[in-house]
Amino acid sequence: MSMLALDVEKRLGEFFINVSFESTGGVTGLFGASGAGKTTLMNMIAGLIAPDRGRIALDHATLFDSASGIDVPVHRRRIGYVFQEGRLFPHLSVAANLDYGRRMHGLARDGAEMERVVALLDIGSLLDRRPGRLSGGERQRVAVGRALLMRPRLLLLDEPLGSLDTTRKREILPYLEKLRDDARVPMVYVSHNAGELSRLATSVVRLDAGRVAAVGGPELLDVADLDEIA
């Protein structure tokens, strides 16, 4: 079954993105140097920016299709997005941040699911705090939990460890591995760090200057790039 299928074009000034790939569950690693168009691609999947041309489909539902004029708005796509900087709401407690997606989607309160995610990410002791008082690693774990608790059809992670030092990365990677092995939600994981992806990705799409350079398994990751983290 084809899970995420996209074929999109977008011009941003001098930069031109023309990407097409399909992924079938698991963790799809989007790999490439900074400036390869990874984040732009993620924003198009999430619906934050519209492609100039093309099609994006998720589980056979069309999210975007320039030919038939379909563009499902961001808030109805049900795609969880973990940003590099976390983007937790500073005026809400951790608990309220976690609950935000459920409330906005009008889902029933589900204590068991909340407990499961809180335990998975080990954030039970943070619930009453404000995001301003969390460490970088804690913040990213809460951001992952917030995205998971809206029960997404797909989880996008854009360099979720990008702003953390090596020690913190090592602290969070096991949680992300647990999440992958849990296998309840397919993920697209963006990184320019081959080591990180070699631990997490089940398939890899390599981007170069706005185009797909290669598609395959983790063997695509350049061994020379397997740096500090692996």
Binding site: A46, V74, H75, R87, A147
Partner: protein, 231 residues
């Protein structure tokens, strides 16, 4: 304490009522306008911005006169509102509230606009990915994050409304019990032989109310700020 006469109490109550009504009614308009000015680009934006700030620089008498000829009983807007909605401004406390609201409006819009401009729009994008439509993004992210600016604006508008004199007296005159605010009452007493004691009492009241408003605003802003930085 202060031994205030019934007339003085009336002026104080009236001033508070006018300032509260003026600020409250102006608020939704100010929020909408501040959002528009902060986020949208459209033809005539600079003109609209100028119009909003006009009461700040025009002589208050001019603003009052303009209100009189447009919102007065025979003015185009005034007669329409009176005939179709039964709202009368001329020589009523409602007219004083309108004058105070117009005078305080730029002071309400400005800090709000700056607060909205300072908000990280990436947080709004994050809210949208979590399922919030535009209205919910505004209500649950934009507005709460603009709260310190909102409080600052409301205090400035309230203070302006409380002390407004020129536009009010030009528009709705100085009628005890209807349009005579603290400022107007002080002015009247200064023109009356032996009115010094009354002036002194009302001046003291004006200082107390203004200080209380400032302290309350400081406290509220501190609390709102604290919510963003933990505790």
């Amino acid at each position: 304490m202060l031994d205030l006469s019934p007339d003085e109490w009336t002026a104080i109550r009236l001033s508070l009522r006018i300032a509260i009504v003026a600020t409250t009614v102006a608020l939704p308009f100010a929020v909408a306008l501040a959002f528009l000015l902060a986020r949208r680009n459209f033809w005539g934006k600079a003109l609209l911005d100028g119009l909003v700030h006009l009461p700040l620089v025009l002589p208050p008498v001019v603003t009052g006169y303009l209100l009189l000829i447009s919102f007065g009983r025979r003015g185009p807007i005034g007669s329409f509102l009176a005939d179709y909605l039964g709202i009368v401004f001329s020589f009523r406390w409602t007219g004083a509230a309108l004058a105070c609201g117009v005078m305080g409006f730029p002071l309400l819009v400005r800090p709000l606009r700056l607060a909205i401009e300072a908000i990280d729009r990436k947080l709004e994008d994050a809210a949208a990915t979590l399922g919030a439509d535009r209205l919910w993004v505004f209500l649950t992210v934009t507005l709460p994050l603009a709260l310190p600016g909102l409080i600052a604006g409301m205090v400035l508008c309230f203070a302006k409304a409380l002390g407004e004199f020129g536009a009010t007296i030009t528009f709705v005159s100085n009628i005890p019990g209807e349009t005579q605010t603290i400022s107007a009452a002080i002015y009247t007493f200064t023109q009356t032989p032996g009115g010094d004691a009354a002036v002194g009492r009302l001046v003291a009241v004006a200082i107390v109310i203004s200080l209380a408003a400032l302290v309350a605003a400081e406290w509220l802003a501190r609390r709102a700020g604290m919510r963003f930085h933990g505790e």
